[in-house]
Subunit: 240 residues, 2 copies
Amino acid sequence: MDSSSQHSHSGNLTKPLAVVLVSGGMDSCVTAAIASKEYELAFLHLNYGQRTERRELQSFHDIASYYGVSRKLVVDVQHLRQIGGSSLTDEHIEVTKADLNRRDIPTSYVPFRNANFLSIAVSWSEIIGANKIFIGAVEEDSSGYPDCREVFFQTFNVVIATGTKPLTDITIETPLIHLKKNEIVQKGIDINAPLHLSWSCYQNEEQACGVCDSCALRLRGFQRAGVDDKIPYRVKPIYH
Amino acid sequence: MDSSSQHSHSGNLTKPLAVVLVSGGMDSCVTAAIASKEYELAFLHLNYGQRTERRELQSFHDIASYYGVSRKLVVDVQHLRQIGGSSLTDEHIEVTKADLNRRDIPTSYVPFRNANFLSIAVSWSEIIGANKIFIGAVEEDSSGYPDCREVFFQTFNVVIATGTKPLTDITIETPLIHLKKNEIVQKGIDINAPLHLSWSCYQNEEQACGVCDSCALRLRGFQRAGVDDKIPYRVKPIYH
């Protein structure tokens, strides 16, 4: 490294500091694995009243332990539950069963969720001196949320540049954005990401349901990669 | 109005719906007054651990009562306190006394605060069907926060367009952005904004201190407009 300005102020670090948004799901697990190659990691987790909040938080801490990450921030983003409107945060709205050919936005969509999450990440990054924010968003092979598209992150980078101090230099990295789920699984296997510690199900906390959007995308990814997914499932359909 | 699609679903409204960020300060008070001319109002208030949180919330409710606003959302944005780094949210950092000729960013700067606030406003707007978000930001005659500049709001509008559902049409309005404080006072007087209900001091809750950045900007505005500010002050310096 030739730029000491990128380094944390702690003095002990030999790598620049990056914040990784770690939901506890497969994508964020692989993203953390990728970031760990070049960066000292700080992990950020958001509780926002999602049904599987407790289980995801467990995965967050498990993945942090795996990578020896001590700098962790867990934020309760209660306003997304207050605001409602999503099956993830409102128990009166049913979690849609997966239809991977569907083109509309599923009921699990939480309005403008990633902007809320990235704003928190930027505030934290500016205080701790991180220059990168990693997020495991996936554009094509995903549920079709508008705030998971590359153009959203590109424009958010412009907002960061205009909305932080002049000397602040923070940009968002989306290393998975154009990968398919099976490529994400394969990437995770290749770089020893602890996929067995991750949790993706939107519905259950003990045994993954196997049929919600998130389970379906994950299982199809493992199946297409020819790899066994070792977390427990209630049912394990074959997806094409 | 010729566009019923802009209207709320309640059926009783004759104006389109707008969310107004109401801190309780003078600028948000005048902004609410401006928005009330053309929009049905929904008021959003953010508690983020600022020193004068209780007093600002009182002003929020008082201004809401003045305009008969029943659709109110108060959100505890606790992560800005968790993250720290500002004299507004960290009692170990002193509130800088005003120096209205200073060009650096004062200690009251909360990193990326307005992005956090606007993200919440957009999430709420998408759920309740509001098309406008009003915020009383001021660019030139202000404390120099980077996220109060027009370019920040312009780029945030692009992020909203890319990060919400395709049919969602939400834009930010900043009617005060290029006004001087005395022009804001005059505008407020002209349209009967309840300035006596607003609160600007960053330091005190009973008597405004008169010397913090926010008090100094407010007092200078009233003095230049030739109008008496009716809220109680501990000291009332003359600013030039």
